[in-house]
């Protein structure tokens, strides 16, 4: 019985991990991270105004 519960938990965690990975890899998330990086690196990576 305990083994069955463990297996179910592992599957649930695995599905959750896959979903999180998909969100991180989405184009929107990539843009967000670049925006954050652009602001952080302002003046070092992009031209002025």
């Amino acid at each position: 019985m305990k083994l069955v519960v463990k297996c179910i938990l592992v599957v649930v965690f695995a599905i959750g991990a896959v979903q999180i990975f998909k969100v991180i890899r989405s184009p929107e998330a990539k843009n967000a991270s670049f925006i954050e990086k652009g602001v952080v690196l302002a003046g070092q990576e992009h031209g002025g105004i």
Binding site: F34, I35, G38, A42, G43, E45, H46, G47, G48, I49
Partner: protein
């Protein structure tokens, strides 16, 4: 047309037009850390309506926004008693507003803000709109860094940063012209990295904009790739007294890409002392 040089301590003013004319147009370039050469010859026709004054920001050694405002204050004080219009392009617009915030605008006849910024959100909007360009540029910059044989000076790095963004500064039909203008500009890398990495990451002039009561004209390029039209419109929303003129088919340097329209709008504004451009 007269061209003269006047020095105020370490600040060297280039003066174009009739120096006896009471009306002065004090032109503040962008960058930070560029020089005012990109205004020429595009603003020259305005010398018939006002004496044009130019100087290179940071020539006194200033590398912070406070020091740049002090520098500007010296120039404004020098022309005290004249009918002074502050003309700020891009970062120069923020500098003009910072001057007003510190010293007030009562000594000025008007403000002309071109493709200007008022808070630290200016670049985030463009990054979203041009994310593909920015992402590919990031790879180019990383590759360039790895391929270097020696460490470049801050002035060279500064010029490279500006050249990288020419596709956003100019519409496609003027890329070649823009490339030449940006390449021929001299850069103050120390000032650029100091202000870009400091002040421009955390500033907010919106509350001050709401208090402006002197005649103010805002001009934007509808295709501006770095300071979007939507961003500038949002800045104007806080003050219905400010006038807005939008020029189609131009980007961040509207006086270069549509000189005729730009000059006629500014002439109308200064000749009517801010009434109905």
């Amino acid at each position: 047309m007269n061209l003269d040089i006047t020095s105020i301590g370490k600040i060297e003013l280039t003066r174009l037009g009739d120096s006896s004319r009471k009306r002065k147009l004090l032109c503040l370039h962008g960058g930070p850390g560029m020089d005012p050469s990109y205004f020429f010859p595009y603003l020259n026709p305005l010398a018939c309506d006002a004496e044009l004054i130019f100087y290179r920001q940071g020539c006194s050694g200033a590398v912070t926004i406070d020091a740049l405002v002090d520098e500007l204050a010296q120039v404004v004080k020098f022309f005290q008693g004249s009918e002074i219009f502050l003309f700020g392009h891009s970062f120069g617009g923020a500098l003009a507003l910072e001057y007003g915030k510190r010293f007030g605008l009562t000594d000025l006849a008007g403000l002309i803000l071109v493709s200007w910024v008022y808070d630290d959100k200016w670049f985030a909007r463009s990054l979203v709109k041009y994310s593909d360009f920015c992402n590919s540029l990031q790879l180019t910059q990383e590759a360039r860094e790895k391929a270097r044989l020696s460490k470049p000076s801050v002035n060279v790095k500064c010029r490279e940063s500006f050249l990288d963004f020419v596709p956003l500064y100019f519409t496609p039909k003027n890329h070649d012209l823009g490339q030449r203008i940006i390449a021929n500009t001299e850069y103050n890398g120390e000032l650029f990295f100091s202000v870009m990495g400091g002040y421009l990451k955390n500033f907010d002039l919106l509350p001050f904009i709401q208090t402006i009561s002197i005649p103010t004209l805002s001009i934007l390029g509808k295709e501006d790739g770095v300071v979007s039209a939507e961003y500038i419109r949002a800045g104007l929303a806080g003050n219905c007294r400010m006038k807005q003129h939008e020029i189609s088919n131009v980007s961040h340097f509207p006086f270069i890409e549509d000189t005729d329209q730009f000059i006629s709008v500014v002439k109308a504004f200064v000749n009517n002392k801010g009434e109905s451009p």
